[in-house]
C-alpha cells in the first residue's frame, strides 16, 4: 500500500500533471494530422523527454500515445483520411456516418470506447504484470529467444498482405539491426569505414523515414487535397454513447479483451488489434452487411480494441523488456536512458516506478474524455490547414527530429535513406511494421540466439529442453504453420461447400 501511495505522490504533482496535459494536447494535434501516427508522436516527444525525470517522461509518452491513437479517428471520420493506421480499420464506417450528417456519433463512439478499452487494458496490465514478472525471473536465453521469434512471427503473419512480403520487411529490419559494432564479437559489420555507422542504425531517424517521409513523398506525388471538413454537428458527442454501450456491451468487452491480448503479444500493436477486431466484429455481427455503410458496431469494437492494445503492449515491455509494438520500443529506449532496465527485476528493485506507470495509464485514459471532447470541437480548425501547407512543415519537423536524436546530420541521412525504402516498400505492398520490429528486436534476438547456441554447443534440441521454452517454441512453430493449415482447411472445406450448394 505504501508503494502505491509513494507512486501516487510521484504522479500527482503539479509539474507531472502539467506534462500530462501538454503531452495530451500534443498527442491530439499529431494524431489529428493525417500521415502522422501515434508512433510519430512518441518519436517526436523523445527529444523532449531527455530533459525530464523518469515519471514525467513516461507520463508524457503514455498520454501522448493514448491521445494520438484516439485523435487519429478525427480526420478519418471527417475527411476519410485516417490519422493513424489503427484508425484506418474502421474509417469507412466513420466517414459514412459523417456523410449521413452524424459525425458526432462516430467521434463520440471512438472517444468513449477508446477510453473504456484503454482502462480495461490498464486493469489487465496492473493484475497480470506482477504475476508474469515472477515467471519471467526464471527465463533464460532460450525462453527469450523464442519470445522474440514469436513476436517477430506475429508481426509477419498478422500484418496486412502476404506473409512472404511481411518476411521481406522483417529481413530489412533485421539486416539494418546487424549494422554496426554491437554484436557478439564486437566486429564492425556493414559500416564501410563510416564512423557514424559504427554505432548502428539509429532507431528514431529510421522510423521517421519509414513512416513520415514516405508519407510526405506520397503527399507530394498526389499533391494533397484541400478538402474542408464538415461541421461536427450540434448533437452532443456523448449523448448516444450510453445507448451504444447497452446495445453493444459484448462488442465493447470483446474488443477490449482481444485488443489487450493482441497488444500483449510481443510484436503486435494497436494497428493490428484494430484491424483484427473490426474483422471479428463483422464476422460475429447479426448485420454484417451494414459494415462499411456507417454502422457503429465495428467502431465500438475496434475503438475499444486499439486503446486496449496500447495498454496491453506494455505488459511484455515492462515484464520481459520486449516491446509489444513500435511505441513501447521507443519507450524501452527512454527507460534505459533514465537508468531503468525494463524486465522482471524492475518489479523488485523499483516497484514504485511500476505503480506510477499504472497510475499514469489510468489518468491518461480518464483525461481522454474531456480532452477528446475539446479536440473534437477544435478539430475543424486543425483539419482546415491545407495539406499543401502542412506537408512542407512536417518535412522540416522530420529533419529537425532526426537531427535532434544525436545532434548530427547523419540522422537526417538515415531518415532520407529509410524514407526512400519505406516509400518503395509501400508501393510494393510490403508492410512497414515488421521492419520496425526487426530493427528493435534484432540485437536482442542475436544476443539470445548466439548465447543459446554457445550454451547448447550448437544443438537445436536444447531450445526445447526447458518446459517454458518448449511451450513457446511449439507455439511459435504453430504460428508459422498456421497459413499452411488455413489453406488446407479451406481446400478441404471447398468441395463439401460446393456439394451442399449443388444439393440446395
Amino acid at each position: 500500500m505504501s508503494m502505491i501511495l509513494e507512486a501516487a505522490g510521484l504522479v500527482f504533482q503539479p509539474y507531472v500533471l502539467l506534462v500530462i496535459f501538454a503531452s495530451a494536447a500534443f498527442g491530439m494535434f499529431v494524431g489529428a494530422i493525417p500521415g502522422l501516427t501515434a508512433t510519430m508522436a512518441t518519436a517526436l516527444l523523445v527529444p523532449v523527454t531527455f530533459f525530464m525525470e523518469p515519471v514525467p517522461a513516461i507520463a508524457a509518452i503514455v498520454t501522448a500515445t493514448a491521445m494520438a491513437i484516439f485523435a487519429g479517428d478525427i480526420p478519418g471520420t471527417l475527411l476519410r483520411m485516417p490519422g493513424t493506421p489503427a484508425s484506418a480499420a474502421y474509417v469507412q464506417d466513420a466517414y459514412a456516418l459523417t456523410r449521413k450528417g452524424r459525425p458526432e456519433t462516430a467521434l463520440g463512439a471512438s472517444l468513449v470506447f477508446s477510453s473504456l478499452g484503454g482502462i480495461f487494458g490498464t486493469l489487465v496490465l496492473i493484475t497480470a504484470s506482477p504475476i508474469l514478472a515472477e515467471v519471467a525471473l526464471k527465463f533464460s536465453s532460450f525462453e527469450y529467444f523464442w519470445l522474440v521469434v514469436l513476436g517477430l512471427s506475429c508481426a509477419v503473419f498478422i500484418s496486412p498482405g502476404s506473409p512472404a512480403r511481411g518476411l521481406i520487411s522483417l529481413f530489412i529490419g533485421l539486416f539494418a539491426a546487424t549494422i554496426g559494432l554491437e554484436n557478439p564479437a564486437g566486429e564492425p559489420r556493414y559500416t564501410f569505414g563510416n564512423v557514424e555507422l559504427m554505432g548502428g542504425v539509429q532507431f528514431i531517424p529510421a522510423m521517421i523515414g519509414l513512416f513520415a517521409v514516405s508519407e510526405v513523398i506520397r503527399a507530394f506525388i498526389h499533391r494533397g487535397t484541400d478538402e474542408k471538413p464538415p461541421p461536427t454537428g450540434k448533437r452532443g458527442i456523448f449523448r448516444e454513447q450510453a445507448r451504444n454501450l447497452t446495445r453493444y456491451p459484448v462488442q465493447a468487452l470483446r474488443g477490449s479483451v482481444l485488443g489487450t491480448a493482441i497488444g500483449a503479444l510481443p510484436g503486435a500493436g494497436a494497428d493490428i488489434a484494430a484491424w483484427i477486431s473490426y474483422a471479428v466484429s463483422k464476422k460475429f455481427s447479426k448485420t454484417p452487411e451494414k459494415f462499411g455503410s456507417g454502422h457503429v458496431e465495428g467502431l465500438v469494437e475496434s475503438g475499444s480494441s486499439n486503446n486496449g492494445a496500447m495498454s496491453g503492449a506494455w505488459i511484455p515491455a515492462l515484464v520481459f523488456g520486449i516491446p509489444g509494438d513500435s511505441i513501447t520500443a521507443i519507450v524501452i529506449g527512454v527507460l534505459y536512458i533514465k537508468g531503468i532496465n525494463p524486465g522482471p527485476m524492475v518489479f523488485i528493485t523499483q516497484p514504485q516506478m511500476i505503480y506510477a506507470v499504472f497510475i499514469v495509464f489510468l489518468v491518461a485514459n480518464l483525461m481522454m474524455l474531456p480532452l477528446g471532447w475539446l479536440a473534437i470541437k477544435g478539430a475543424r480548425q486543425v483539419l482546415s490547414i491545407p495539406q499543401r501547407v502542412l506537408m512542407p512543415l512536417i518535412l522540416m519537423f522530420c529533419m529537425v527530429g532526426s537531427f535532434a536524436i544525436n545532434n548530427s546530420v547523419f540522422g537526417i541521412w538515415l531518415m532520407f535513406v529509410f524514407g526512400i525504402i519505406g516509400f518503395l516498400m509501400e508501393e510494393n505492398d510490403i508492410p512497414i511494421a515488421p521492419a520496425i520490429l526487426g530493427l528493435v528486436l534484432g540485437p536482442m534476438l542475436e544476443q539470445n540466439f548466439v548465447t543459446s547456441m554457445i550454451k547448447s554447443d550448437g544443438s537445436f534440441i536444447a531450445f526445447f529442453e526447458r518446459p517454458i521454452a518448449a511451450g513457446l517454441g511449439l507455439f511459435t512453430i504453430a504460428v508459422w504453420c498456421l497459413p499452411l493449415i488455413l489453406v488446407l482447411v479451406r481446400r478441404k472445406a471447398q468441395p463439401s461447400g460446393t456439394q451442399s450448394t449443388q444439393g440446395n
Partner: protein
C-alpha cells in the same frame, strides 16, 4: 512503381546470397564457433528461402519474365518531379544548413516545398517564416538542440 512477384523473388534471393557471402568474413567469438557472422548468415538463409518461395509462386502463376508495373503517376512528369523535389530539398537542407544556418535554410526549404505544391508565395513566405522561428525556438532554445546557427541571427539563440 511495383515489381512483380518474380522480380521481388529474384531481388530477395540475390540479397540473401549477398548477405551470406559478406557474412562469411565476419569473425567468431574467440574460442567459440559462433560470433559476428552467425546472425547475418541466419538472416541470409531465411531470405534466400523466401526468395525461392516467391520465385516458385510466381512461376506457378505463369510468370516467366521479371517485370516492373509502372503506376499511373510514374508516366507523368509532374508527380515524378514533385517526388524527386522532396529528396532534393532534404539534401539541400543537409548541405546548406551547416553553412548558412538553420533559420534561412529552413525558411527557403519550406517556401520551395510549398511552391512545388502550388501554394502562393504570399501565403508560403509568412507561414514558412513563422514555422522556422517556432521550430528554432522550441528545439533550439527550449530543448537546447544545437541547430546550426546563422552568424547574423544569433540574437534568436
Amino acid at each position: 512503381m511495383r515489381v512483380t512477384d518474380l522480380t521481388l523473388g529474384l531481388l530477395t534471393l540475390l540479397g540473401g546470397i549477398a548477405i551470406y557471402i559478406s557474412a562469411l568474413g565476419f569473425k567468431a567469438i574467440p574460442g567459440q564457433a559462433y560470433g559476428a557472422g552467425t546472425m547475418p548468415r541466419a538472416i541470409a538463409l531465411v531470405t534466400v528461402l523466401t526468395g525461392i518461395f516467391l520465385i516458385f509462386k510466381a512461376a506457378l502463376a505463369g510468370e516467366r519474365v521479371p517485370g516492373l508495373v509502372l503506376a499511373d503517376w510514374t508516366r507523368q512528369r509532374g508527380p515524378m518531379a514533385r517526388a524527386a523535389s522532396v529528396l532534393v530539398l532534404i539534401v539541400v537542407y543537409i548541405m546548406i544548413s551547416p553553412i548558412v544556418g538553420f533559420l534561412p535554410t529552413a525558411f527557403v526549404v519550406m517556401v520551395l516545398a510549398m511552391l512545388v505544391l502550388r501554394v502562393r508565395l504570399l501565403i508560403a513566405a509568412p507561414v514558412a517564416l513563422v514555422a522556422a522561428i517556432a521550430i528554432q525556438q522550441s528545439f533550439g532554445k527550449l530543448l537546447l538542440v544545437p541547430l546550426p546557427r546563422s552568424s547574423f541571427l544569433t540574437f534568436l539563440w
